[in-house]
C-alpha cells in the first residue's frame, strides 16, 4: 500500500488556479484593510490578558506535577501505539519498516511506564488519577497527535512522523523528570527513570530508523536515524546551545579554538552570568 503523500491533486496553492489567484490579489487593492496597524496588535491583547489572567492552575509540588505529566503522556502515548497497530494492519509495513511485533513491543513498554509512574505517585502520597497542570499542558501540546493517528486517511509512514514527535517529547521529558527526582532526593526514583529513559532512547532510534527507511534514506548516523553519542542536537553554528542559551560570537570562537567542541561542555551554573537567557 502507498506510503507517500498523494501528488498532483493539490488545489491549495495559487498555481492551481492562476487566473482566480490574480483576481484575489486585485481585490486586495480595491478593498483595503478597514483598520490600521500590524500583527503586533495581537501581541498587545495577549499581553494584556496574560497580565490579568489567573494562569493554568495552582502548581502542586514540582515533582508531583511532572510525574502527573509523564503519566498522562504515557497513557496518551499508549493509545497512539494502539492506533499505530491499526495502521499496520490497514496499510501493512514497508521495507525497513516496523513489524507488528516491533510496535507491540514499544506499546508494552509504554504500558509499563504508566504503571511505574502510577506507583511512584502513590508512593509519594499523590493521586495518580488527578490531572496536574503540567499534564493538562502536555496533553494540549500534543493534541494533534491522536488526530493524525486516528485519521483513517493517514498511512503507517505518516503516522510514524507523528509518533516521532511523541518520542522526542518523551526523551526530553523523562530526562527532566529524572533530574527533578534527583533534586528532590528521590534517588531510587531517579534511577528507575533511567531505565525508562533507555527504553525511550531505543524507541526514538527505532522510529527514526523506520521513517528513514520509509523515505528511502540511508539509516546511517548523521541523518537523524541515530542519536548522536553526546546527544548534542545543535550544529556548530547554532545560535543557541542545547540548554537554550544564546551562544555569543566570543563563545563560538572559543569553541572553535578548542577543536570544535560544542560550547556547552559546562553546565549553565558554571557560567558567570545568564544574561543571554532567552
Amino acid at each position: 500500500m502507498r506510503q507517500s503523500a498523494r501528488q498532483g491533486s493539490n488545489r491549495t496553492g495559487i498555481m492551481a488556479a492562476p487566473e482566480r489567484a490574480k483576481q484575489m490579489v486585485e481585490a486586495t487593492r480595491e478593498f483595503p484593510p478597514s483598520s490600521p496597524g500590524d500583527a503586533l496588535a495581537i501581541a498587545e491583547v495577549r499581553i494584556a490578558y496574560a497580565q490579568e489572567g489567573e494562569g493554568m492552575g495552582e502548581t502542586p509540588r514540582l515533582l508531583m506535577d511532572k510525574l502527573g505529566e509523564r503519566l498522562a503522556f504515557e497513557h496518551a502515548g499508549a493509545r497512539l501505539y494502539e492506533a499505530l497497530l491499526s495502521k499496520h494492519r490497514a496499510y501493512g509495513s514497508f521495507e525497513g519498516g516496523p513489524s507488528g511485533e516491533d510496535v507491540l513491543h514499544i506499546l508494552t513498554e509504554e504500558y509499563e511506564h504508566a504503571d511505574f509512574l502510577s506507583g511512584a505517585i502513590k508512593n509519594l502520597g499523590g493521586d495518580p488519577t488527578a490531572l496536574t497542570p503540567a499534564a493538562d499542558l502536555a496533553l494540549n501540546i500534543s493534541a494533534g497527535l491522536p488526530q493524525v493517528l486516528s485519521d483513517p486517511r493517514t498511512n503507517l509512514l505518516q503516522s510514524l512522523e507523528a509518533i516521532v514527535v511523541a518520542e522526542l517529547a518523551d526523551n526530553e521529558c523523562w530526562t527532566t523528570l529524572a533530574q527533578f527526582a534527583s533534586q528532590a532526593g528521590q534517588d531510587e526514583l531517579a534511577e528507575q527513570c533511567g531505565v525508562a529513559i533507555e527504553h525511550e532512547r531505543d524507541h526514538l532510534r527505532k522510529v527514526r530508523m523506520w521513517i528513514a527507511a520509509g523515505q528511502g534514506r540511508e539509516a546511517a548516523a548523521g541523518d537523524g536515524a541515530e542519536m548522536p553519542e553526546d546527544e548534542y542536537t545543535f550544529s556548530e553554528d547554532s545560535p543557541v546551545d542545547r540548554e537554550g542559551y544564546v551562544v555569543s560570537e566570543e563563545e563560538r570562537a572559543e569553541s572553535r579554538e578548542t577543536g570544535g567542541q560544542p560550547p556547552t561542555g559546562t553546565s549553565g551554573k558554571d557560567r558567570p552570568a545568564r544574561r543571554d537567557r532567552k
Binding site: 493509545r79 507488528g100 511485533e101 513491543h105 504500558y111 504508566a114 488519577t129 491522536p146 486516528s150
Partner: protein, 401 residues
C-alpha cells in the same frame, strides 16, 4: 436571595451595555474550578442560545414585535457570548462534550425530582437515562482515543456507566412526541422546567452537529452522528411538552422568566466569586427584560402578567450530584420505551420504532463499538492490564521499574 418576578425591576434595557473587552473575560479554570461551574456555564449558554432562537422565530412571524425583539435580542447575544467564552481554551471539544452530558444528567435529574406533574416527571426521567448513557459512551471515546480520563471533568459527581443503551434509544419520530402541559393549569415551575431542559438539549444537539466533523477518527465522527440523532429526538420530545396554544408574547415572557430562574439558580450555587458576579449581573439584566416584555404583554394582550408569571420563585435548580436518584431511576426504568405519547415496556414498542431502529443499526451502532467492554477506571482503562492490547507476542521482558 428572594426574587419577585412581578415587582423587581432589575437593570433597565438602556443601561445594559457591553464592550468587546467586557465580553471576553478570563475563563473558568478547567483544573481548579468545581465541575458545576462548567455545568452552569454550559447550561446558561444553552439558555441564552434558546433566547436568540425563539426571538428570531418570533420576529419572523410577528412584524409588530420586531423592534422590541431586536432590542432585547442584541443584549441576549452579548450575554451568550460572555457566558460561552468562559469555557477555557485548554478544554478540547470532547472535554466540553463531557460537560454537556453532565449538564443533561444533573440538571435533568434536579428537574425530574422537583417536577410537580407526574407525567412530565416521567418524561424527564426517560430522557435522563438516555443522556446518562451518552456520558459513558463519550467517556469511552475520550479514553480510547486520547488516553484521557473523563472523570477529570466529571469530578466524580456523576457515574460513568451505561444507562439505557444508545443503540436502543432510536425510535420512530412519532414515538418521540409527548403530551403538552395545559398553559391554564400547569404550575409555573412546570413551564420553567420544560423551557430549561428544551433549551439545554437544543444547544447540545447544535454543539454535536458543529464539532462532530472536526474529529479525524471515524469512530468519533460516527459516535457524534449517532448521539446527535438522539439529541434531535430529545428536542422533539421536550418541545412537544410545551403548550402550543400559548401566545407568542406569553412564550416570550416565559422565556425571560426562565432566564431569571436559571441565573438566580446559578447565583444561589456558584462558588467562584468572579463567575457569580456575572450571574448576578445577568440576573439583574433578565429582570429588566421581564419588566420590558411584561409591559408589552399587558399593553398588547390586555392581560395581567401575573396570569403567566409567579410572584415568587420556586426552588432553584440543585447543582449537586443526583447519583442516588439516577441509580434508582436506572433500576426501575431502564427497560422503558415509548409508543406514541405513552411510556411502555420495550416489548410493547411500535412496529414503526422497531423497523426504524433495525434500519439505522443494520450496519452496527458506533456507540456500541466505542464502548465495547468499556469499564471506567480512575486514571483511564489502561490502568487495568486486562484492558490493554494483548502482549502475548511481545518479546519485551524489560521493565521500567
Amino acid at each position: 436571595m428572594a426574587i419577585n418576578l412581578l415587582r423587581d425591576s432589575g437593570v433597565p434595557l438602556e443601561q445594559q451595555r457591553f464592550t468587546w473587552r467586557d465580553l471576553v473575560q478570563a475563563p473558568y479554570n478547567k483544573l481548579m474550578d468545581d465541575a458545576f461551574t462548567r455545568v452552569r456555564v454550559i447550561l446558561m449558554n444553552g439558555i441564552e442560545s434558546e433566547a436568540l432562537r425563539f426571538s428570531h422565530a418570533c420576529a419572523r412571524m410577528n412584524a409588530p414585535l420586531q423592534r422590541a425583539l431586536a432590542q432585547v435580542r442584541r443584549i441576549e447575544q452579548h450575554q451568550q457570548t460572555m457566558v460561552n467564552w468562559l469555557n477555557p481554551a485548554d478544554q478540547d471539544p470532547l472535554e466540553t462534550t463531557i460537560g454537556f452530558e453532565q449538564v443533561a444528567i444533573e440538571v435533568t435529574a434536579s428537574v425530574a425530582e422537583k417536577e410537580p406533574d407526574p407525567y412530565l416527571a416521567q418524561v424527564f426521567r426517560f430522557g435522563l437515562l438516555e443522556d446518562f448513557d451518552h456520558l459513558y459512551r463519550y467517556s469511552a471515546l475520550m479514553d480510547r482515543l486520547q488516553g484521557k480520563d473523563a472523570n477529570a471533568l466529571v469530578q466524580s459527581y456523576s457515574d460513568i456507566v451505561p444507562g439505557r443503551p444508545t443503540v436502543i434509544e432510536h425510535r420512530d419520530p412519532l414515538d418521540d412526541l409527548r403530551k403538552p402541559y395545559d398553559r391554564r393549569r400547569a404550575a409555573p415551575l412546570t413551564k420553567l422546567h420544560a423551557l430549561t431542559i428544551m433549551a439545554g438539549e437544543h444547544q447540545t444537539h447544535d454543539y454535536y452537529m458543529t464539532i462532530g466533523p472536526m474529529f479525524a477518527d471515524p469512530v468519533a465522527r460516527q459516535v457524534y452522528a449517532e448521539i446527535a440523532s438522539i439529541e434531535e429526538q430529545h428536542v422533539t420530545q421536550y418541545e412537544s411538552i410545551i403548550d402550543p396554544n400559548e401566545t407568542w408574547l406569553e412564550k416570550w415572557l416565559l422565556h425571560e422568566a426562565t432566564e431569571v430562574y436559571n441565573y438566580w439558580s446559578c447565583v444561589e450555587s456558584e462558588e467562584n466569586p468572579r463567575i457569580r458576579a456575572i450571574w448576578e449581573r445577568f440576573l439583574d439584566y433578565e429582570l429588566g427584560h421581564v419588566r420590558f416584555v411584561a409591559r408589552l404583554f399587558e399593553e398588547t394582550e390586555g392581560r395581567d402578567a401575573a396570569e403567566v408569571l409567579p410572584d415568587r420563585m420556586p426552588e432553584p435548580i440543585r447543582y449537586t450530584s443526583h447519583r442516588e436518584f439516577v441509580r434508582e431511576t436506572l433500576r426501575r426504568e431502564l427497560t422503558l420505551s415509548a409508543a406514541g405519547t405513552e411510556f411502555v415496556d420495550r416489548e410493547q414498542e411500535t412496529e414503526a420504532t422497531r423497523a426504524y431502529r433495525d434500519q439505522m443499526n443494520s450496519e452496527g451502532s458506533p456507540t456500541e463499538t466505542v464502548a465495547a467492554g468499556y469499564v471506567w477506571r480512575p486514571g483511564t482503562e489502561l490502568t487495568d492490564p486486562a484492558a490493554r492490547v494483548p502482549a502475548t507476542s511481545s518479546k519485551s521482558k524489560r521493565r521500567a521499574a
